[in-house]
Amino acid sequence: MSDNSQRFVAKHVASLPRSGIRDFFAVVAQMPDAISLGIGEPDFVTPWHIREAAIYALEQGKTHYTDNRGLLALRKAISTYVEKHFQLAYRPEDEILTTVGVSEALDIALRALLNPGDKVIYHEPSYVSYHPSVTLAHGLAIPVATSASDQFALDPAKLAAAWQPGCKALILNFPTNPTGGVADRARLEKIARFAVEKDLIVLSDEIYAELTFEGEHVSIATLPGMRERTVFLHGMSKAFAMTGFRLGFACGPAPLVEAMMKVHQYCMMCAPILSQAAGIEALRHGWDDVQRMREKYHQRRDYIVSRFNEMGLPCHSPRGAFYAFPSVQNFGLSSMDFAKRLLQEQKVAMVPGTAFGPGGAGFVRASFSTGYDQIIQACDRIAKFLETVAAEKGKK
C-alpha cells in the first residue's frame, strides 16, 4: 500500500526546504571519529552554581507552571541585567516575556506581528531558522546579502534597495551566526533611521551580544526612535552556556509583549520552571563566567583566524560569536563539496556556508567552540587537505 499521507501536510510547510544543517549532519553522523568544527553551541558545561540552582529548585518541589510571562523574580533579574549590560530599561511587569529559547521568542513575535503576506527583511547568510519562521507565520522573507568585504555587516544602502511595499519588519542578528559580523553604532544609526522612515518593526536577535570581542555592542533599541519599534530578543544559551535549558526572553513595548504573550500562553504556557530558576541565578551571579568563556573564545578566534589565513584560506576576523567563516572560493569546489571532501579525506567537519542561505556559497562555517587540542589538530588537517586540493588544481 503506498503511503500518500503527505497530502495532509500544509502547503506552506511542505514547501519549506529541509535544513542544510540536517543534511550535513547526516553525513557527519556516519563518521563518529571526525573532529567537529560544526557545533553551534558552547563547548562549556553550564557553570555549576547555575546547575545547582536548578537542582535546588527541584528539591524545593518547584515543579509547577509559572506565570505565563515567567517568574516575576526572573523578569526582575532580566530587567536589571538588560539595563546594566544593554542600557535598555524594560518594566518586569509588562514589558518582558520569558520564552523557551530565543527560537520561541522569534517565532511568537512573527506570529503576533505579521498579517498574511507581510514582508520581512533579514540579512543573509543568517541563522537557519529566520526564513522558515517567517514562512511559517505566513509572511514573505526578503534576504539582503552581506559580504565578506564588508565583514558581513549589513549595508544600509543594500537594505534600502531590498525594501519594497508591504515590508513590515526587519530581523537583525548582531553578532551574526554564521559570519561573526557585527554592526557598529554609526551603521546601526543609519539602519535605525531607515526603519523609522519606513515604519518597520525591528526584531533584534542579540543572543551573541556578550560574545563581542572588539568594540562595544550596541543594541539598536537604544537609538533614537527605536525603543518603540524594537523587540529585543535575548536568552541564556550562548553567553551562559545554557543551550539545553531552553530559556530566552523578549523585551519590548507593552502592547507588543502583550500580543506575543497571547500566542505564548496558548502554544507554550510558560518556560520550564527549573530553567527559570537557573536563569535567575545566571543573571544575578553569572557575569564572571561569561567573561571567562568570552576570553577563551577570543583566544581561540585569534588562533583559528590566523591559522586559516596562513594556510591560504582567506578569513576575516569575526568580531563576535564563536564562528569563523572562511572563503573556499580559491579551490574550485562548492562549499558543500569542500566540506564533504574535507570530512571524508581528513575527518574534519565544517558546515557548508550554503546551509545559511545562498549568500553563504563559497564559504564554510568553522565553530571554535571546542578545545584547543581539537582546534590545532583540525587546522593541521585542513592545511593538509588544502595542499591536496591545490595540487589537484595545479595538475588540471
Binding site: F24, V28, I39, G40, D43, N177, Y372
Partner: protein, 160 residues
C-alpha cells in the same frame, strides 16, 4: 599577566609546542618565558595531577593540624619552614583559627605517617599539639573533578 602563565593557569594540558602554536610564538620564546617565570620564583615546578585512587595502592594522605608556639623573633616562620622541609610534607600552610599549621603529608602507609607524627613532628621543640586526619576519598584534586563530566554522547556533532 604573562600570556604563557595565563594559558597555563587555564588548566588546558598543552605541550610547549602547542602553547607556542596557540600563542603564535616560537617554541623557543615559550621556553624562555617559562625559564624566566622559574627564575623569578613564580613557577615553582611541574607535577602531573594524578587521581589519588590511582596512587591509593602505595600512598596514603593525611592532614595534620599543628599548634605551635610562635617565637619572639620570626613568629611562626622558622618552625613552619623546618616542618615543611620534611620529605613527607607535600604542603604546609599557616592558618587562622583553631590551629596554626595545616600540614598535608603523604607516605606509603598509615604506619609511616604515624611514625612521622610521633617521631619527627610531635617531638620538635615548639610543637604544642597535633591532630592527624587521614584522607579517605578524593572528590576533587587541584581543580580536577574526579567524577568527570562528559558531554552526552548524543550531543549533535553539527548544530545550527
Amino acid at each position: 599577566m604573562n600570556p604563557v602563565l595565563k594559558l597555563m593557569l587555564e588548566g588546558e594540558a598543552l605541550s610547549t609546542a602547542q602553547m607556542a602554536e596557540v600563542l603564535r610564538m616560537d617554541a623557543a620564546q615559550v621556553e624562555k618565558e617559562l625559564a624566566t617565570l622559574k627564575a623569578q620564583g613564580v613557577l615553582l615546578g611541574w607535577r602531573p595531577v594524578l587521581n589519588p585512587d590511582y596512587l591509593a595502592e602505595n600512598q596514603v594522605f593525611a592532614v595534620i593540624e599543628v599548634k605551635i608556639s610562635p617565637e619572639r623573633e620570626g613568629g611562626f616562620d622558622r618552625l613552619a619552614t623546618r616542618i615543611a622541609k620534611f620529605e613527607q610534607v607535600r604542603s604546609c600552610y599557616l592558618m587562622s583559627g583553631a590551629y596554626d599549621l595545616m600540614v598535608i603529608v603523604s607516605a606509603h602507609n598509615l604506619r609511616e605517617i604515624a611514625a612521622f607524627v610521633f617521631e619527627r613532628l610531635a617531638t620538635l621543640h615548639g610543637v604544642v599539639s597535633t591532630a592527624t586526619h587521614f584522607m579517605l576519598r578524593a572528590y576533587k584534586e587541584q581543580g580536577y573533578l574526579l567524577a568527570r563530566e562528559h558531554a552526552p554522547a548524543d550531543k549533535p556533532a553539527v548544530s545550527a
